[in-house]
């Protein structure tokens, strides 16, 4: 996974002054093995990978794996917080919009979800910073030091985009469910509306959320890259963006591999949850 687009040594020295002799650049390339043919570099990288060595960063010269690991918790924290916020917001709003279908509340919620879905994440975050940090002076601009206050804005930015998708999906699911025979039956038997909601419909909504989670974890991982860059959140997303700009391939490779692993792991957990939650799948398997 190397490109034709210049290399890390050029990128670094251009960034600093552009005034370094080719001799010094060549030395650095030799140190990093960048002077070797592409296939040799790739083979070396693969060899290292099999032995659990992801190589060293072309920029910092430090081992990739520990650097990556030191920044991973911040990203995971941000992901967990935004997912939690999304789930806590989406279910009630989705259900509410469904119950009040085609009434004002429904329209307001749906309007908001459309809005949240139609603005690029970096723009939303700029607006949020502008209002919360500059106008209201409530929250800090940067997440440089991780704290309860500094996590709010990045979480909010990510959650707005995600909730907009989730709320719509929950609403549709609940609407579908409310048409089902068992609900009609329960109503006919005089079961209270709230009981129907909590005992039956909500469970289904949960399943929808899980499906969505598995699907949207990918865009969330990508989204954190942008949001972390804006909020100076010292996680792997920002690391990845910096590495791309500086052509630090070992770091990009580590990022992609690890994100894929996390993604697959999340999907696996989702499948297990499904199996656990959905009796039909469970029975099909045991049968």
């Amino acid at each position: 996974m190397q490109s034709v687009a210049g290399d890390a040594v050029d990128a670094l020295y251009d960034n600093i002054s552009g005034g370094v002799s080719e001799e010094i650049k060549a030395e650095r390339r030799a140190e990093l093995g960048l002077d070797k043919p592409f296939l040799v570099q790739y083979a070396n990288w693969l060899k290292g990978l099999v032995q659990g060595d992801m190589g060293i960063s072309y920029l910092s010269g430090k081992a990739v794996f520990p650097t990556f690991m030191s920044k991973l918790p911040a990203t995971l924290l941000l992901m967990v917080s935004s997912i939690s916020l999304t789930v806590t917001v989406s279910i009630p709003l989705g259900v509410l919009a469904a119950v009040r279908q085609n009434r004002i509340l429904d329209y307001v919620v749906r309007g908001l979800t459309f809005a949240g879905n139609s603005l690029p994440g970096f723009f939303t975050s700029l607006l949020l910073i502008y209002f919360f940090s500059l106008k209201l002076r409530l929250l800090p601009v940067m997440g440089g030091t991780i704290s309860l206050k500094s996590i709010i804005l990045p979480t909010l930015t990510l959650a707005i985009a995600m909730s907009s998708k989730y709320i719509r999906q929950v609403r549709v699911t609940v609407l579908e469910e409310l048409q089902k025979d068992y609900v009609t039956g329960a109503r006919a038997r005089g079961v209270r509306e709230s009981v129907i909601m909590y005992a039956n419909v909500l469970k289904t909504a949960m399943l929808t959320i899980i499906t969505l989670l598995a699907l949207s974890i990918g865009s969330l991982l990508g989204g954190t890259a942008i949001i972390e860059t804006i909020f100076m959140w010292d996680g792997v997303g920002k690391l990845a963006v910096d590495s791309i700009l500086m052509r630090d391939y070992p770091m990009i490779q580590a990022y992609v591999i690890w994100m894929a692993l996390i993604y697959v792991a999340v999907n696996l957990v989702t499948d297990l949850l499904y199996h656990f939650l959905d009796p039909r799948i469970r029975r099909a398997h045991s049968a």
Partner: protein
């Protein structure tokens, strides 16, 4: 849809996740607030110039470009320093005596102490420089030192070759004097002589405390936090919200915001980072003298710096800025003159015969491939500006602003290559000429060759007298301009923006010195 059982467990899981987040965040918050609530004056400084991508993480001057951080953030000092005209002044040294072209004795101050209390002596400077030569990648080639001897408060340096700019090179940030007995820590911290001492260093932040035993005054701020902020908008809004007291590297659009606000002030200095256009002599159309001349006449330097850079650059004639004796008006170049450029092209036989606004000669359209890159925000702006102005003169400029400019350079698919370059990082002109205008130069991408320039650059290498070196520099620059081998657009003006109450925070043309003992802040 699927029905669910066990919703309770799922809800429990969600709650667990939520509580983990909250408690996790609270833990981290507690940990960070523990260090943040120290007494005294705290100065928070946001900068674009610190970080892995700048190659200057840590404050160990003997590694890559980290010396910039050592000097900028007041941890270490060099033997000599540059004044506003980029001339050398004593700093940790008292003075020097050149014994012969190969030998120089540097006398050190007697009152300088490292931040760990140890005195700076000839021996400690010798140990530091020897380690620099052993560990650093650029220093040995610049300095060409054969041996160093120490006598009390002086060191004597013997060179392998004539190095007229030896003291300039020693004033490069890598020449910061550190205590080698204290060594270099795992996190790239060192013991220097500066007004501040680094206590914590990471890829994104440096924490400093005042050095109580500083030899040259008393630092007025108790704690300083240097924060790497690589996004321009975040940097802007962090300064507006008061999270930082000063910022370096703000986007031009934001500077305007602070300029019109009396709660902030701006301090700027013209640096020697020059935006230049290199002509490719291997390209047929560029070999035409008239075309090169017309390009030089077609760059609207005033418009570029005042409108596109919003005043954050100074138009220039030659490679060196006006604060240099051999820069500014010392050389003459082509003024911006579209009518004149038309004339020049017309006379040379470039005529627009098919009426499409682009001139032709011998059946070839006057098309220029303008290669540049995007990592310096000014370069694409320059390209677009030149594209518009040269079109008026009947030249079709095809801009190629790309991240892989190096590949296009190698392939030779370009007529003009616009780049940014720090022309005189150590105040000396020789560096620019040896890297750009002689046949053996690494950066002479266009294959420019002039016998006289070769000879002049050679004599520069043997001249020790600064005044005469300046004269030679003017001659060489003038010849480059007369040949239209390079066109120079402007120099970067670097700006520090700070809250109104901040004092003693001054931008320096060298871009080396930022935090000094003078820095103070009144709320």
């Amino acid at each position: 849809m699927k029905k669910a059982r066990g919703i309770g467990s799922l809800l429990a899981a969600t709650m667990l996740a939520l509580s983990m987040v909250v408690s996790g965040a609270a833990n981290v918050a507690a940990a960070s607030s523990g260090t943040g609530e120290a007494k005294g004056k705290v100065f928070n400084y946001g900068t674009m110039a610190y970080g892995v991508a700048m190659g200057n993480v840590g404050v160990n001057p003997h590694e890559g470009y980290s010396g910039w951080s050592t000097i900028r953030y007041g941890v270490g000092e060099t033997l000599f320093k540059f004044n506003a005209a980029m001339e050398l002044e004593p700093w940790l040294a008292k003075g020097y005596e050149r014994i012969d072209p190969y030998t120089i004795r540097i006398d050190l101050r007697d009152d300088v102490f490292f931040s760990n209390g140890e005195k700076m002596t000839g021996e400690s400077v010798k140990a530091c420089l020897e380690h620099l030569l052993a560990a650093h990648n650029r220093a040995p080639k610049d300095l060409q030192i054969k041996s160093i001897t120490a006598h009390g408060q002086s060191v004597t340096i013997t060179s392998e070759a004539k190095v007229p700019a030896l003291l300039n090179y020693l004033s490069d940030p890598y020449g910061a004097i550190i205590n080698m007995k204290a060594g270099i820590s795992e996190d790239k911290n060192v013991v220097g002589t500066g007004p501040y001492v680094a206590t914590q260093i990471s890829d994104t932040e440096i924490s400093l405390v005042a050095n109580g035993q500083y030899w040259n005054g008393t630092p007025k701020i108790d704690r300083i936090n240097i924060k790497s902020i690589t996004d321009g908008d975040t940097l802007t809004m962090a300064l507006q919200s008061g999270e930082i007291d000063a910022a370096q590297g703000l986007p031009y659009a934001s500077l305007q915001l602070f300029r019109s606000d009396d709660r902030y002030k701006i301090n700027s200095a013209s640096t020697s980072r020059v935006y230049q256009a290199c002509m490719n002599y291997k390209s047929e159309v560029i070999q035409d003298d008239a075309v090169r001349k017309a390009i030089a006449m077609g760059i609207d330097k005033e418009g570029f710096t005042s409108v596109l850079l919003q005043g954050n650059g100074s138009p220039t004639v030659g490679p060196f800025p006006a604060n240099f004796k051999f820069g500014g008006d010392a050389v003459k170049g082509e003024p911006y003159d579209i009518e004149g450029a038309k004339q020049v092209l017309e006379t040379a036989g470039w005529v627009d015969s098919d009426g499409d606004g682009i001139r032709e000669k011998g059946g070839h359209k006057l098309t220029i491939d303008w290669l540049t890159y995007t990592s310096r925000q000014e370069l694409p702006l320059l390209a677009e500006s030149v594209q518009a102005t040269l079109k008026l003169a009947g030249m079709d400029v095809k801009v190629n602003a790309t991240d892989n400019s190096k590949d296009f350079l190698k392939a030779g698919k370009w007529d003009v290559y616009a780049s940014a370059f720090v022309a005189a990082p150590t105040g000396d002109p020789q560096y620019y000429f040896t890297t750009h205008v002689v046949a053996s130069s690494d950066y002479n991408r266009g294959g420019y060759y002039n016998d006289m320039v070769e000879k002049l650059v050679e004599s520069l290498g043997n001249e020790f007298d600064p005044a005469k070196r300046g004269e030679l520099a003017v001659k060489i620059s003038q010849q480059i301009l007369d040949d239209h081998a390079y066109a120079y657009a402007s120099h970067l003006k670097m700006s520090l923006v700070m809250k109104e109450g901040v004092t003693g925070f001054v931008a320096h043309p060298s871009d080396y010195y930022e935090i000094t003992a003078n820095l103070d802040k009144n709320e």
